[in-house]
Assembly symmetry: C2
Homo-oligomer: 197 residues x 2
């Protein structure tokens, strides 16, 4: 068996694998509680080796939260291009969001814990709010089209809908739980049709 050059000695990191480790550490210790020193210790490489890939800790955060946000906005763009009743477009958005969460779980976890202490965090919060508005607007449209229970306030319904979706970061474990498509089905059934059979 020949050993490829990349496998020799201490493993090398590219930006992607470095980002994965950074996100895991940020999620464990908090972004504020993690230093570049901690990261270099965890990776077993020098800080200057990290700075070869990325200029700052904040840039790692930006890359990480954008990974989550870009996924969610890609689904939002898809949804905006659809025709048909708003309730069906909303269901498409919910289903797609669940798949993004399941696929990018550590990145979304980090995004949902962002508090807004830095420029990158404030920009992420602004994009989150933009996404939340898209959801609320769709629920309102579905209401106007008569496809939402009239007793429900659209803003509250939108919050509860994504409250359930976002809760995945607390309990969904891809290797243990049902596959993402089944999960997306369960979320949509529960949210749109309700628990009661």
């Amino acid at each position: 068996m020949t050993t490829s050059p990349a496998r020799r000695g201490r493993p090398g990191y590219d930006l992607e694998s470095l980002l994965q480790v950074a996100v895991k550490l940020f999620n464990e210790r908090g972004y504020d509680g993690t230093s570049m020193e901690d990261l270099s210790r965890k990776l077993g490489i020098t800080k200057s080796a990290i700075y070869h890939h990325v200029p700052s800790k904040e840039e790692l955060l930006r890359l990480a939260v954008d990974r989550a946000l870009d996924g969610l906005f890609a689904v939002a763009d898809e949804t905006a291009a659809l025709e048909g009743p708003a309730i069906e477009r909303l269901e498409h958005l919910v289903r797609g969001s669940v798949l993004v969460l399941a696929d990018r779980l550590p990145f979304v976890t980090l995004l949902l814990r962002v508090r807004g202490n830095t420029k990158v965090e404030r920009a992420a919060l602004a994009r989150r709010r933009e996404f939340d508005h898209l959801v609320t607007d769709l629920v309102k449209q579905a209401c106007a089209e008569g496809d939402v229970r009239p007793s429900l306030d659209p803003a509250v319904a939108a919050r509860l809908l994504f409250g359930a979706v976002n809760s995945l970061i607390e309990w969904y474990r891809p290797r243990r739980d049902s596959p993402p498509t089944d999960l997306a089905d369960a979320v949509c059934t529960m949210a749109f049709e309700g628990l009661r059979g």
Copy 2:
């Protein structure tokens, strides 16, 4: 107008008001990130004045998370004493939990952020798991009684149900939003009957 002795000079704190301020600070900065020094500065009293009321920071945490947990378990006990179909008992539990969250929002917020680094945190997590089991058991019973959509996995349904309930800590603002009983109605309608009208 006479000034009562308690109003003279620097305001005095009893354990309750001290706890309220501590919980607010823990929620803003994280439990680990808040020192008794920070708390004494915030309260404008000495650390020994705090220790007059409470032996440690961890005891403040215990009092705070127990305030949340005791509320939730009081609802669980009420629910356990009910007769009738499991789906109705589950609805009672969800409704009561929403009212506890709305009433004890800062305490539940702290509880839901606990990570398990100390004995008090691990005990809180154990009680949370116990509560989650009660919920899952009720959903399973409701399934067995044929009152839950057969396509839904009871464990996933239980997670999504309390995912929506627990999301209140992220967005519910008692002074701005609808009153707690309306909120509880909205959560139950959405969870049990679904969004689709």
